[in-house]
Structure formats: structure tokens, C-alpha cells
Amino acid sequence: MSSFRHILKRILITAGLIALVFLLQESVFPHLALGGITPNCVIILVCFAGFSNGALEGMLVGFFSGILLDLMHGQYFGMYALLYLYIGFLNGSFRKFFFGEDLKLPLLFTGLSDIIYGFVIYFFLFFTRQKTDVLFYIKSIIIPEAVYTMLVTVALYVPLLLIYNFMGKQKQRETKIIV
């Protein structure tokens, strides 16, 4: 059963990637905070999984990354899982725009996803507690985080593309990057 082995390999590698971005986000980037802002590494992987392999993979990667975050910081257990599930799904739905070689669109979509993520967190966890100064939160949290996340996306894009191409060996794809 080569297809079973193939799927197992993909699951293991993806699990490894989830663990890796989680560690990057929790233990590496806090040391590299710019003006107190850290990037959202998990969203980079979730978006990438979505637009390189479709909505199903985006959803699953999003769901399980979210569960991991919920487990380690269970404020509202299931919240991050739900949020990342939809981010993965949305990015996966836009898959037809991507051909894997162009960096601009993935960058844009990761940035947009992070902004959406910021707005959802703001609305449900801050706005509901009468913190109504939206502009402040946009200006000093949401936008800086999205920009930093996009910068990190540039750095992570090629390694991720190589890993994803390695996983999808059967459908050989070019790894040329057009910026």
C-alpha cells in the first residue's frame, strides 16, 4: 500500500511542522520581539497548508494547530481550533489562485488572514469587555503583527515549499519562485 505509506508520511511531516511552528512562536520569537510584537507563526503554516494543498488540508492543519494552542493556553478551549479551522478553510478555498511559485499572493493572503485573526480576537475577547478603541488595537497590535508575520512568511516560504513538494513527490512540481 504505497498510498497508505504516502499518507502516513504526510501526516507525520505535517505534525512535525505544527510542532515546529508552535515552538517557534512560543519559545523563539518572544526573544526576537520587535517593539513588543511577535509574529504569528502558526497562521503561516495554516495558510500555507491551505493554499498549497487545498481546503481539506488547511482545515485539518488549522484545527490541530488550534487544538494544540488551546491545550497549552486553555482560556476558552476550542476557540483557537475554531478560528484556525476557518482560516485554513478560507485559504484553501482560494487555492486556485496559487501555483506555488509566486510569493506575492501567499504573502498577501497570510497578511490578510492575520488581520482577520486579529479582528476576531479583538471582537470576541476585547470588544465584548467594553474595550471599544478599535483604532488603537488596529494601529498598535493588528497591523504590526500582520507586517511582522509577513516578514517571517518570506523567510519560511521557501523551506515550507520544499517540504511540501517533498511530501507531494508523486505530483512533481517546480520550485521556482517568482517575486
Binding site: E26, V28, M59, H73, L82, Y137
Partner: protein, 289 residues
């Protein structure tokens, strides 16, 4: 375009199922206070050692970077330090006077419980969680080291946070600058109580936290007065230094005052903390979770 195999189950169904699972989890955790239990412990078994390793490496790199300096830099630093030593010496003599006064006042107030009396254990910060919206971190000690939920956490300078979750070998700490944190405090000089609330906005704008509900009819409270945890707090042991009053404004009701406190701990660069192994828990409505 790579040709994709037709999925046996439509994607919308899977989305619907996973969404339902998440919503059920949310309701279940809300109703029962479930936050992972065994699963959290399992995840922690895998990630905590790795986080420890990464933190160790990062600290090592930071140290070697900060050690590598030229002679000029060292000389400049030496000069700066000499100046600082001068001003510190001056400050010290002032502090000694203050200390004498403090001792005298303390004996007058019979307030002898400063936090040097509490039994503590040191721990390393190994991860910072929840992105830019919340302020919490993970430490490398847990139940096995006697740490329990609601124990107070100190930095080298003063109050830093409270333990919100524990595993066998890790604990999560919510800091007092977190937007959802509320601490019952008091002004050390007048014993007037107030509520110290973490605020992302104040923290972002000026590294400060908010306070409210200060009753000060005689206008005795001044800027620069130290704020400590109050004895009526139900989760914080009394007498822990929180910070210094920086901004005092009268509220519209003219009865209470609110404003800002500059915390003593540096929340951006916490790497070691002390956990007080003594809990204060009196059920009351005064303090939000």
C-alpha cells in the same frame, strides 16, 4: 493544475463536523472548566523539554552576543556605569533614610509581613503564549515542585502574576499587565484600597497598568506612592509591591480616583521568576477571576 482525487465526503460536511466539535468543546469547557486535562499533560510532556532547550539556547546566544564588545564600548560603558554608581550611591543614602523611616512606620503599624517572609521557589520562563493580545507565560516548574493554581509569582522586583494552570512539570502564569487581570491593591502610604487592572492599551502606550476605585477624600495620595497587594485581596498575599502611582485622576463621580501605575517588573524581559508557595484564598466576589 494538479488533478485532485474526488473526495468521498464533501468538504462542507467535514467543515461542519469540525465546527461542531469546536463549538461543543467550547460549551463543554465553559460548563465544566475543562482545559485539556490529560491531553494538556501529554502535550506538555512533548513540548516543555523542547521549550526548555530552546530557551537555554536563546539565553546562551544572548549572553555571548552581549559579551562580545570592543574596548571602546567597554570604556564607554565603564564611564556610564561610574556615573550611574554615583547617582545610585546618592539614591542609596536617601533610601537608607527612607528605610529607617519605613522601619519606624512599620513598627507603628505592626505591619511586619513583607514578602521576604514568604517561602518561594525559583523558576525559568520557557515560553510566552497567546501572541500579542494577552500576557502570559509558561514556567518550567509544576505540581511536582509544589506549585498550585492561584499561587503568586514575583519577578526580582515585585509582583509579576498568578499561576492559572499547572501540569506536572510546567505552570502557566498570567501576568498582572494582562488585559483580563484584576488585582486588589492598596496604596502603601495611606492604606487606601484600589483595583489594579491590566490594560493592553496602557501597557502598549507607556508600559503602565490602570487602577480604579481609589477613595482618597483627603487628597493624601501622591504621585510616586508605592502600591502593594492589599490584605483584602482573595488571591494575592498582602504586601507584594506592584508598582508606583504615575497618574492620578478624579473620576466623574468625585468620590473615587483612577489612573495609572508603573509596574516595577519589566514584563518584556522576564526570564526568571519566584513563585510564592503559600496561597491566599478566601472566597469573595470582589476580585474577578
Amino acid at each position: 493544475m494538479p488533478v485532485k482525487k474526488k473526495n468521498p465526503i464533501p468538504i462542507q460536511y467535514i467543515l461542519f463536523i469540525l465546527t461542531s466539535i469546536c463549538i461543543l468543546l467550547l460549551f463543554f469547557s465553559y460548563a465544566t472548566g475543562f482545559s485539556g486535562g490529560v491531553l494538556t499533560e501529554a502535550a506538555a510532556r512533548i513540548f516543555v523539554p523542547m521549550e526548555k532547550g530552546l530557551t537555554y539556547v536563546a539565553d546562551g546566544i544572548k549572553e555571548s552576543v552581549s559579551e562580545r564588545r570592543t574596548k571602546e564600548e567597554l570604556q564607554a560603558e565603564n564611564d556610564a556605569l561610574r556615573l550611574e554608581a554615583l547617582s545610585l550611591r546618592e539614591e542609596l543614602s536617601k533610601e537608607q533614610l527612607d528605610q529607617a523611616e519605613l522601619e519606624r512606620l512599620r513598627s507603628l503599624l505592626a505591619l511586619k509581613d513583607t514578602y521576604s517572609n514568604y517561602e518561594t521557589t525559583g523558576a525559568h520562563v520557557i515560553a510566552k503564549g497567546q501572541g500579542n493580545w494577552f500576557s502570559s507565560f509558561t514556567i518550567d516548574k509544576g505540581k511536582a515542585d509544589g506549585i498550585e493554581v492561584n499561587m503568586n509569582v514575583l519577578s526580582s522586583k515585585g509582583l509579576c502574576g498568578i499561576v492559572t494552570e499547572t501540569g506536572d512539570h510546567f505552570a502557566t502564569v498570567r501576568t498582572i499587565v494582562d488585559d483580563t487581570s484584576n488585582v486588589s491593591g492598596m496604596v502603601a502610604t495611606t492604606q487606601a484600597t484600589l483595583i489594579v487592572s491590566g490594560n493592553l492599551k496602557s501597557m502598549n502606550e507607556g508600559q503602565m497598568i490602570n487602577f480604579s476605585g481609589l477613595v482618597d477624600m483627603e487628597n493624601a495620595v501622591k504621585q510616586g506612592d508605592p502600591v502593594v497587594t492589599s490584605s483584602i485581596s482573595d488571591k494575592f498575599v498582602p504586601g507584594l509591591l506592584v508598582g508606583y502611582l504615575t497618574e492620578i485622576n478624579e473620576d466623574q463621580n468625585r468620590l473615587t480616583k483612577s489612573g495609572k501605575i508603573t509596574p516595577v517588573s519589566d514584563f518584556r524581559h522576564i526570564s526568571e521568576v519566584l513563585v510564592i508557595l503559600q496561597k491566599k484564598e478566601i472566597p469573595s466576589q470582589g476580585e474577578l477571576k
